[in-house]
Each structure stands twice: as structure tokens, then as C-alpha cells.
Amino acid sequence: MNPIFKILSNLGNQVTSRIWRLGSAARLFFLTLIYSGESFKRIHLTIREIYFTGVMSLIIIIVSAFFVGMVLGLQGYYTLQKYGSSESIGVLVALALLRELGPVVTALLFAGRAGTAITAEIGLMKATEQLSAMEMMAVSPIARIIGPRFWAGVISMPILASIFSMVGVMGGYLVAVPIIGVDHGAFWSQMNVNVDFRFDVVNGLIKSFVFGVACTIIALYEGFDAPPTAEGVSRATTRTVVTSSLTVLGLDFILTSFMIAH
């Protein structure tokens, strides 16, 4: 066969399979929404999943938020003191965390910590034919398995992002006030004046909610779609991280451009 023809057909195959995957992921998303009434009837399943996705991610979120905040404090101070406005460091740390780093870094960590776990779990369930067994018993796997995990992810993400931002601000405070010696009052009051509740805090929450939906549905879909082999599950887990990270960064740009334009 002509090598150019081969390359072209390969490319076309790649594109159609991507579009096919996007379509079936969207179908899974809508099915999850439709079945979510049934999933909410057994709320303890969702609570159990919040424990595994949200509570278990707390440690990594808190530790990374603390370091991110401290680094922001150091870097911000280094640049701001050149312009003689080192008191604005509180504003810088708070706005950077609330608007961008809080939602985005939380989503990236969430994809790595909880997303992979969801994909591997569901992929393995599929490989061991637990999902087919459920269908045999007339229990919808979407209502019983996918729904609770989806809602757990969507609920956990904004909570984790708020915790991330708050801990990050505390990390920034620790570097700026006791270590560098920025005035305590100026740090908080400048922050208070320049951070708006509606435009900064609420927009950050909206972002993290959208990221929660995206990350969780990607992880669920990859697990649901994984070939039922050991290799298939491991590949699906890798794809979860790559796809979620790229989606989060892309969505972040789109959401930010909407929010800045208001």
C-alpha cells in the first residue's frame, strides 16, 4: 500500500475514534444525569464515595496548598519589594490562589489522586465482569456504580478547592508576616479591600465545579471504556491523567476568558 495513503488513513482513523470516544463519553454523562435520581435514593453510596475521593485527597491537597502558598509568598515578595509595595503580597497570594491556582491545581491533583483510582476500580470491575453481573440482576451499573462516584467527585472538588485556597493563603501569611516581616494588618486589610467575593471567590467556585464534572466524567468514562485486560486498565488509567489535565487547562482558559469579559 502507498505509504502516504497509509498515513492518511491512520490519521482519519485516529480522528474518527477520538470523536467516537467524545460522543460516547457525552452519552455516559447524560445517562448519569438521568439515572442520578435513582443513585440519590441510596445516598450512603455517594457518601462512601465522597470518603474515598474527597476525604482521602485531603492530605495531598493541604500539603501542596501550604507549599504553593509559601512559594507564592516568597516569589511575590521578591518581585513586589522592588517596587516598594511588599504590603500587596496578601492580595497577590489571595488572588492567584482564588482565581487560578486553587481550582486548577486541585483539579490536577484530584485527577492524579482520585481520578486514577476511579478508573482503575471501574476498569477492574469490568474486567472481572462485575458490571455484567449487575446488569444480569437488573441493577443498572450506571445508577449503582457510576452515579455515586460522579456526584461524589462533583461535590468534593469545590470543597477541596476552597480548602486549597484557604490553606494556601495561610501558607503565604506564614512566609510573609512572621518570616519576612510584612506588617500583619496591611497583609489582611489590603487583601480584604482588593478581593471581591462575587468576582473572585464565587468565580473560583464555579471553575472548580466545572473541573469536578469534567475530571470525574473522564475518569468514569475511561474506566467504563477500558478493555477488560490488565494492560487495558493500566492504559486507561494513564489516559485519565493525561486527558483530565489537558481538559482542565483548556477549560480554565475558556472559563477565565468568560469571567474576565463579564
Partner: protein
């Protein structure tokens, strides 16, 4: 793990989340400092408002007494009409000056109220007649150059 311990952990998780959000709203954000009590609205006309924006503070002696509600353009007088929302606790006399100042060299602009000596106080819907526009740097420079040029040459 049994159901009650699970519930406790999840409840704790949600509680920490809500606490963090409250912290962000109160301590980091301006949800508390921003809320004025009951307010009354007064209007002020300006030839030029410079970079004044809605929600900018209205100060008197440096204390925030209100906020700018909105800024419109009056096509009859070709002037900017600024609506000021002032806290009911702070009544101002009718002949109050409303000047646009800049905080710091490059900071945000705000309206400063300087009380006059009138016995009557401003009411809802009143118009402040004594206003002073924002300082435009270009105008200032051209005025300075004009004054320099008209100065008597030194002998």
C-alpha cells in the same frame, strides 16, 4: 469501615470545606466590609470622572461612608451622572462638596465628601451641586506649559 465512622469523616470533610469557604468570604474577601447598612442615594454631575468606577468607595475624612452605585451619561447636559449610595448613619449637609480624588499616585479613584455648613441635610434623590472633576494629567501639564509661556521673560 462501618457506616457511622464513614459518615463522621465525610461530615467533617464538608464542615472543613464550609469553614474554608467562610474564611475566604469573610477574612480574604470583602463580604463583610462591603455591606453598608441602610443607604440613601444622592446624585452628582461631573464634567469628567476620569477613571472612576462603580463600587468605588465614597470617603469623608478618609473614612468609607458609602459606595458608588452606578455611573451614567446624561445626553442633555453632556455630563456624567454618578449615583452615590451613602450609609444612613452619616447625614451630610446640602452644600457638601463631592470631589474626585486619587488614592496614591497611581491608585484607584474615589469620591471624597467635604461637609459644608448648611442646616439642611441631603435626602434620598437629592443632587450634590458642588462637585470637582477628576484631575486629568494632560490638562494639568498643558496648563503648566501655558502658564510658563505667558510668564514675563526675565531681564
Amino acid at each position: 469501615m462501618d457506616k457511622t465512622t464513614l459518615d463522621i469523616w465525610v461530615g467533617l470533610f464538608v464542615a472543613i470545606g464550609i469553614a474554608a469557604l467562610m474564611g475566604l468570604a469573610m477574612k480574604v474577601g470583602n463580604l463583610t466590609s462591603n455591606t453598608l447598612g441602610e443607604t440613601y442615594s444622592v446624585y452628582a454631575n461631573y464634567e469628567n470622572i476620569g477613571g472612576l468606577k462603580p463600587r468605588a468607595p465614597v470617603k469623608s475624612s478618609g473614612v468609607v461612608v458609602g459606595r458608588i452605585d452606578n455611573i451614567k451619561f446624561d445626553t442633555k447636559a453632556y455630563q456624567a451622572v454618578v449615583t452615590l449610595k451613602i450609609d444612613k448613619r452619616y447625614p451630610f449637609p446640602k452644600d457638601t462638596f463631592a470631589n474626585i480624588y486619587t488614592s496614591g499616585l497611581l491608585g484607584e479613584q474615589y469620591i471624597s465628601l467635604e461637609a459644608g455648613g448648611d442646616d439642611h441635610f441631603l435626602k434620598e434623590g437629592d443632587r450634590i451641586s458642588k462637585t470637582q472633576d477628576a484631575v486629568v494629567l494632560e490638562k494639568l501639564i498643558s496648563q503648566f506649559l501655558y502658564n510658563k509661556a505667558t510668564e514675563e521673560p526675565k531681564k
